[in-house]
Amino acid sequence: MLGLLASIVDGILVGTVYGMAAMGLTLIWGVMNVINLSHGALIVAGMFGLFLLSQAFGLSPYLSVVPMLVVGFVGGVALYWIAVHRTIGRPPLMSLLSTFAVNMMLIGLGTAIWGTSLFNVEVSLPGLSFGGYTFPGTHLMAAALTCVIAVLLYGFLQYTKPGKAIRAVSGNREAAELVGIPTRRVLAMAFGLGAALACVSGTLIATMFPFTVLAGSSYQLKSFVVTVLGGLGNPAGALLGGIALGLVEGLATPFMPVSWTSIIEFALFIVVLIAFPRGLFSFIFKRS
């Protein structure tokens, strides 16, 4: 019984971080109808960013979160203007191909610099022990920081002018233009924000698990599943979707071989796509 509880709690902890990874993807998708296939590469960028910052400056891994947010945002805005801007409003295949090409370039660059070997950032944080089971301190810290960032994001989108502009543009771009919102700049900002979230989730994942240049694809896949669970364009839904996915993983693993969890995850994906196409949580949060 305790084992089941431990598994569920740990699943939720890690699921929150997957939720944050998905928040970036769903934000971009919801605002500009672009499926960002370079999402995985941005996550890996966050991981290697942490590696470089801790190697070069000996910076505490959790302090690196702030510079990675900034770097991710700036990189995202640049990426928007270079690869995404001209594909907005055009057939979806164009933005898919464009972001896919960016993904290939970034992964190729990463492989050329670092190869495909495993990298690890040592983060020692005392864990929480409970009847023989230990929750690693890194998992706890990552989940806590994710919640903080999620709250900040919510505050930004609900109460600040740029945040409201983003929500306006995602609701109806023409109407937003009509009321004088500079939609192109808002789209760039939204993409930058999505990229920043992806980057920071990579940084937090890197504090928990080792990584390679190619690790982004499995997290991108998980982000897709979580995005569908939470509903497109719904960042809060994405966080809850991540927690839900973590919960499912935690419930399943004590009863079956660990290699089966992917099967459960993707079966859930298909069920939700068929039965709840607007996400499990779309009825809680109305798109405004």
Partner: protein
Amino acid sequence: MNRLFRFALAALLLAAPACFAVSAQAQNTIIIGFTVSQTGAMQVDSAAQVGGFELWRDDVNAAGGIKIGGKSYMVKFVTYDDQSQGARVQQLYTRLIVEDKADFLFSPYSSGLVATAAVISEQNGKVMITTGAAEGKTYTLGNKYLFQIYSPADLYLTGALDALKSKKADATIALVYSDDPFSKAAAAAARDQAGQRNLKIVLDESYPPDQTDFSAIINKIVSAKPDGLLGGGHYPDGATLARQLHDQKAGVKWVTLFVAPDSPQFSQLGDAALGVTVPSQWAPQVTYKPDFGPTPADFAKRFQAKYNIAPAYFAAGGYAGGLVLQHAIEQAGSLDPEKVTAALNKIDVTTMFGRTKFSTDPASHGLQVAHSVILSQWQKKDGDLAKQVIWPLSAATSPILYPLP
């Protein structure tokens, strides 16, 4: 004038082949082809194996090359990066044989990749010395030109089970291993052997080779409360599993992991490495007396001098592969694959790596039948982490550390 001209031309034409013969003799080479995993999961171990190959090649060429029938042949390597992928191995070995005209082949590192390379080498009738591959199944598929240097996977955990049983006769075991051909073969054999020794298996699970999050499995290990954990895979997952076992305070009293703990890099794990045991094909402290080639200590010293790192068994296996091939070529007195194969089938020699003898039974041709597996453990000596041989007791350099601190 015409007759003189024709006579001179004839003389020149007769003399020409002799000129070529002289220049060819100065450049007799034996081309050995193989792939290296310069990227991908097998990178760490493959690089070590190549270090062993290259040290052997340099030693042979410094001594004037391999001597056959009064002529000296220098050894030349042709290598490519297989990216730790079977599909690349398939393409590249075909290329090595057809385009680069390799005379002999070494294998890639890891049982999965070697199984793929073996298909190509057998199709083309090329002798391949396999190192870095312990899975036995490859040799049961009917082959004529494969020769395994490593002890087969079935033997990997025998020593670990015996060592654990010597400390706790009714120990319970968790088998947690990577889903790849080598680890599955070794774990399957361990399953049978644990049953024979009355050691109960309380957890038996495989994980995908690229797994990085072991927290779910570790929670299952804590729930099952085993005395010993046996398994792992190759370097990336083995090192990660060891680290996370320590971080999550799994409380297992005995840990045996394949491959990863034998790498000198494993010491970077610090306290997480302490007490971890590894079934090893070789250790620098072994005291084999070689029939030819350097002694284990001599090899270790020269490897350290050249690469600035102590050799693990991957490097020793690579070096031994070269030594054995060289010996067989010299015994055969020829580069003809059939003659070299016959020589390899006959050998029963001891090198710095240990005893080498190949099975000649068609049902298991090439399987290594004489080499033993030892068990090493990371222990602290004067505050520094170092690997000690702990099993078999006759070869031990230090007592068994149990339970894990």
